[in-house]
Symmetry: C2
DNA sequence: GAGGCGATACATAAATATATGTACTCCCTA
DNA sequence: TAGGGAGTACATATATTTATGTATCGCCTC
């Protein structure tokens, strides 16, 4: 046992694992104690090796990084979590923030950034690169803009419309009159300057109001 | 100059570049003569170093791997091209096949597979891993299934419908009567067991009949 | 506490979409 | 070459969707 930062790397791409490994090799104060190619493997390894930090890829087949992070937080809350992803999208980032991950690193980061992130997170600080911080701002900005554009009722109707439900069905689902659905939908159309539901679906998908 | 296979690596993720580099280092008959972090850089490097093979990542900001492959084929057709991607989707693979790339490798491949691919492609053979080959089959199978499910006219109407065009507009765009559009769309609904256009959009997106 | 504003609710008329039935053409094949 | 099937085309009736107008309630502000 030393006071090195003991790290487990998780990535389903062997090439990536090797890349990070070879990069961290020989760095003072850092020790890669294990690597895993899947979420399940990572859980097993972590419970056996009790590491200080897990660096985990987000996009993986089977148990993905998000699910892995959730379980690690639940079962081994002392292990710091540093997420690694090539795409920093709203869909990726949001659940991770809710889980309370310690840091997020883009795969396009260089060596120095990665080392800085590992050391910060292992020391109990958070690490989110400037690009990620900017994205988080954009997310909350976009969200508030969308939420201020539509009323709660309108958002309800948008979601149901985009699932293919018709006016009557929406009325039933929300427990309101058919004619009220008519009004709400007309208001939505007017706000967006469109005039049919298909265009609404396209808008909602583009703005990530719904997921496909 | 030797008779090593002289390789340029292209990937926008420094970590990935390092990983592959360290893996290829010291392998007999293989020599990494340069690495690039972008399409533009790769073109420049290739024209200067005249390599035997370029291993290129597909997902890159700016000029992506597909565009890079196209330009390389046009300007330096003697350089073998081996594509590298983490996701082997129909959208990724199809343009590459059309360009006439020499091989395709998943980023989840291991060392042995990668070496085999590099040697095959450098020797003038094609290399597509078993998983990719399976995907290609699935693509052509899915395509033929979709194409046999819908007539050309129906596909026209589906595409226009999914852009938000209404019956009259579709009729105008295709130069047919409104009533004919009615028939075609009704046929589509019957075939799919659905009964409104929104559900058609959702279907088309899921089956990749249209792109958003 | 009067007035304005936004959210929700309801009504009607007009436009559009959907269900169903029919007809014509072309091509294949028995 | 007669018949069947698939693709395309057109018509009618019904259902749904969209445009527009109006009413009520709660909230905030002046």
């Amino acid at each position: 046992m030393s006071d090195n930062i003991r790290i487990i790397l998780v990535d389903d791409h062997p090439l990536m694992l090797m890349g990070i490994c070879s990069m961290l090799e020989g760095k003072p104060g850092i020790e890669v104690v294990g690597t895993a190619g899947s979420g399940a493997e990572a859980m097993e390894l972590a419970s056996r090796l009790n590491p200080d930090l897990m660096v985990l890829d987000i996009v993986m087949p089977g148990m993905d990084g998000i699910e892995l992070a959730r379980r690690m937080r639940a079962e081994m809350p002392d292990v710091a979590l540093l997420a690694l992803s090539s795409d920093a999208s709203i869909a990726t980032l949001e659940p991770l923030l809710n889980i309370g991950i310690d840091g997020f690193l883009s795969k396009s980061s260089n060596e120095a950034t990665m080392l800085a992130a590992i050391r910060s997170v292992a020391d109990g600080y958070e690490y989110f690169g400037t690009d990620i911080a900017r994205l988080i701002e954009r997310i909350s900005f976009a969200k508030s803009a969308q939420e201020s554009l539509f009323t709660p009722r309108e958002l309800d109707v948008i979601r149901l419309s985009c699932k293919g439900l018709q006016y009557k069905e929406i009325a039933g689902a929300l427990g309101i009159k058919y004619l009220t659905v008519v009004t709400i939908k007309n208001n939505i159309f007017r706000k967006l300057g469109i005039n049919n539901t298909v265009e609404l679906v396209l808008y909602a998908v583009k703005k990530q109001l719904i997921t496909l």
